[in-house]
Symmetry: C2
Subunit: 120 residues, 2 copies
């Protein structure tokens, strides 16, 4: 699924300046983000977990099973992002199975990388 | 979503004796499993990544973005499991958004645990 194309005319778009913290661990979590422009780093207790660029998503874990952020997201460059709340997230999952499969693919990739790190 | 209930009359059910290896890292991967009875441990290069019991799933990552197993699954007790291939997986995702949300929740939980391990 082409996320950039799907979210290109999304109504709720937000901007974050370079080096700003978009959210922090244990913050209340109400949105997932799809990056339209820029780069975002995700860290946990200062340890880098990954980075995302245009078309990438972050904050999706809070859509699924928690109201609190499990990591910190920081803008590495000026960021413009489509903001998706829980209701819209569920609506898109229901209307568009490819969106669900895309989110699962992103999570599977992250899990694969994390498992490799753990197993050394 | 109640996975045990959903898969209780699934046609393709397989059994694995205690201590048997269900699949190993880099094996060709064609199925996800839903445990109907028993317990399965998942390891990577000998390091435990987690265990699943009745109602739990394993092998789902291969449904999404790879044809090779990223971990090893071993029966800790005699296991009976519903076996789901890629076509059925995609069909259920399309027909049943709650299934997609359930798989995402399982993956989000695994990722949360993995991230905590990595961040120490």
């Amino acid at each position: 699924m082409d996320m950039l194309n799907y979210f290109s005319d999304w109504d709720d778009v937000v901007e974050f300046p370079k080096k700003s913290r978009i959210f922090g661990e244990m913050d209340r979590a109400d949105y997932m983000y799809v990056i339209i422009e820029g780069e975002v780093e995700v860290t946990l207790r200062g340890e880098p977990l990954g980075a995302e660029i245009e078309g990438g998503i972050f904050g999706e874990m809070a859509m699924i099973n928690s109201a609190l952020r499990s990591a910190t997201a920081t803008a590495l460059r000026p960021v413009r992002a489509a903001r998706v709340d829980r209701d819209n997230f569920r609506r898109i999952v229901k209307d568009n199975p490819d969106f669900a499969l895309h989110i699962m693919a992103v999570m599977a990739n992250r899990l694969r990388v994390a498992d490799q790190v753990i197993a050394g």
